[in-house]
Amino acid sequence: AQSVTQLDSQVPVFEEAPVELRCNYSSSVSVYLFWYVQYPNQGLQLLLKYLSGSTLVKGINGFEAEFNKSQTSFHLRKPSVHISDTAEYFCAVRVINAGNNRKLIWGLGTSLAVNP
């Protein structure tokens, strides 16, 4: 069975500092990988996704993530964070070629708190 582990439940960081939010998955088959963001009192929004091709994926708001197949990781990074990046970040996977089954498997989320 597939699972997603977000290694940090909370990440406090100062404004303009770099940040990395870690995500590891377990799957015996190929997967698609996603990062979603949930700003306070808002719905989930797609940040970026890896489907195929280049392992470095760029998303919205200056975020990027790198797919590492050998380490089964998909860590999210931003070189300089802003106060407005304060939010909950979710990593998710979907098994490729799973027939009609397109459900996402989710991590528990990482709460990013950007302090001035």
Binding site: Y32, Y36, Q42, G43, L44, Q45, L46, K49, L51, F90, A92, R94, N100, N101, R102, K103, L104, I105, W106, G107, L108, G109
Partner: protein, 114 residues
């Protein structure tokens, strides 16, 4: 254009009562998903509809939970005889026919069972 909408945004009910949660997907989206987001437990898949195919109900936690999708558009999630552990945010998402790997989420319905 309009995104996924859900109603009500908040629902407070008494234990044992039935509730209905509604989801209006983005127009033209053929896939629709329901998830449950509980505090400290992340998102939990409940059910998935794809066009006219039989829904994937593998995530429904008990037979008190059911969902239907009428006319390939609006969906209703029904919880019968609600329990306190049903309290959570219920999220709906939809996907377009061409880019089904991307799910667009609604704002959710926050359910509180007293």
């Amino acid at each position: 254009g309009a995104g996924v909408s859900q109603s009500p945004s908040n629902k407070v009910t008494e234990k044992g009562k039935d509730v209905e949660l509604r989801c209006d997907p983005i127009s033209g989206h053929t896939a629709l998903y329901w998830y449950r987001q509980s505090l400290g437990q992340g998102l939990e898949f409940l059910i998935y509809f794809q066009g006219n195919s039989a829904p994937d109900k593998s995530g429904l936690p008990s037979d008190r939970f059911s969902a239907e999708r009428t006319g390939g558009s609006v969906s209703t999630l029904t919880i019968q005889r609600t329990q306190q552990e049903d309290s959570a945010v219920y999220l709906c998402a939809s996907s377009p026919p061409r880019y089904q790997e991307t799910q667009y989420f609604g704002p959710g319905t926050r359910l509180l069972v007293l």
